[in-house]
């Protein structure tokens, strides 16, 4: 482990404030001990693609760094009969390139492939995407649709949080000051399933989405046995639209009234006005997207 006091150097820094420590543990155990000692006074660095934007020109205000990049035990995608387990330090690129993920969780894989640019995908991690908890985080909607859960660890203890309980506000979540997000577990759909993912932005690369949408439907014979519908940038947190999910379950695709479901989606979301789009625009997009999603799934299932 490296622990070395030093002076700030970066051209991003303006003042002469000294920072204290840079920790680069090689194991999760050490990382948890450091986090337990420093709590909120230490900043976790994963791929730093969110941090460098959030702390633009004030990196020097970060006093203590906890760099997780050398912890190999947090980088994996492991499949079992029941689920996939993904280490928090797994990059978007690794998710994008996993053929097995593409086969079993196509919506999650497609979302990872749509994050930022190649440069961002080779550094940015799933753990960082979740911990940032942006309403527009691209992996968050698929994780909600697939009913993922997150493992939060402190030295000596761990707990699991369901994705839908995790996000509490824009860039806010339930993580405590001594916790590190270590693993993401996603259950395999029980029946045959179809999914739809789309991210609607003004330009394909780099734009943090104006709306992202993920739908996963499980079928038992031709009836929908489970539905996972989630949207990002549609409310202060990424949201699961449970009311609509309930309207889908028990029906076959040809029994669904697409326009009515689209209208319902519009009612359920609480979009925000910002530079990337107005509230009305997002509502209309959500309406259209719901209809497109159902049509697309229908056409693919023939």
């Amino acid at each position: 482990m490296k622990k070395s006091p030093m002076k700030l150097e970066s051209s991003q820094t303006i003042s002469g404030v000294d920072f204290e420590n840079y920790f680069q543990p090689g194991s999760l155990k050490e990382a948890l001990e450091i986090k337990a000692e420093y709590g909120r006074d230490i900043t976790i660095a994963a791929g730093t693609t969110d941090l460098f934007v959030a702390y633009y020109e004030r990196l020097h205000t970060i006093k203590n760094w906890l760099d997780l990049s050398k912890i190999d035990e947090l980088k994996y995608i492991k499949f079992s009969e029941k689920n996939v387990k993904i280490g928090a330090m797994t990059t978007h690129l690794a998710l994008k390139e996993s053929e097995e993920l593409k086969g079993k969780f196509p919506v999650l894989q497609a979302a990872a492939a749509d994050v930022g640019s190649p440069q961002i995908r080779s550094r940015g991690t799933i753990g960082g995407n979740i911990a940032t908890s942006s309403p527009s985080g691209d992996l968050l909607t698929p994780l909600l649709s697939y009913q993922a859960r997150f493992k939060l660890e402190t030295a000596g203890k761990s707990r699991w949080a369901a994705a839908e309980e995790f996000f509490t506000g824009p860039k806010q979540n339930i993580m405590g000051p001594k916790e590190i997000l270590t693993e993401i577990e996603v259950p395999l759909p029980k029946n045959d399933s179809s999914g739809y993912w789309i991210k609607i932005g003004r330009r394909k690369a780099l734009v943090i989405s104006t709306l992202n949408f993920s739908l996963v439907l499980e079928f038992n014979k031709e009836k929908i046995s489970r539905a996972g519908l989630a949207m990002g940038s549609a409310a202060p947190t990424p949201v699961r639209l449970k009311k609509i999910e309930e309207m889908l379950v028990g029906k076959s695709l040809d029994e669904l009234d697409h326009r009515k479901l689209g209208e319902e989606v519009k009612k359920q979301i609480a979009p925000i006005d910002d530079v990337r789009g107005t509230k009305e625009y997002r509502e209309d997009v959500a309406f259209e997207t719901m209809i497109n999603a159902l049509e697309d799934i229908e056409s693919r299932r023939g």
Binding site: K2, S4, P5, M6, K7, L8, E9, S10, S11, Q12, T13, D18, F19, N21, Y22, Q24, A45, T48, T49, F52, V53, Y56, L59, H60, I62, W65, D67, S69, L93, G116, S117, P118, Q119, I120, S122, R123, K204, A205, L206
Partner: protein, 157 residues
Amino acid sequence: MAKLDVELTVNGEKYNLKVGSQERLLDTIRKQLKLTGTKEGCSVGECGACTVILDDKAVNSCMVLTAQVDGSQIITVEGLESKGGLHPLQKAFIEKQAIQCGFCTPGMLMSALALIKENPQPSKEEIKTALEGNLCRCTGYQQIIEAVEAAAEEWGV
């Protein structure tokens, strides 16, 4: 106050450096190593002017802490040219007139190199995806994409 010791291999040469905890890879490359081919545009991961290859992958060096990449292999645009002259990618950029002001070019070249090293015969779509994180204000992307295609086809990398 002490600094962190970091070992980097840049364009095949090993460097033992001392870096601050907030020093970006971009600063290390430009200021410590004086390799000024790598450019700083937006500083926040949007433009790709600072792209270098880090352990075979294109990254924005403005978004990487040098301390994080201790022990890594880095290629910058200066690593392209050899005793044999310009690299096929560089020649293709000139031939296809894919350069105007040139500010984006080092980053474009690095993204293209990372692509071709992994996928020697990329499709047009794959080239577009590989260059998604690189902005150019002057040339228009068409010539740039053609240059990458030409380099891959005619010379192979």
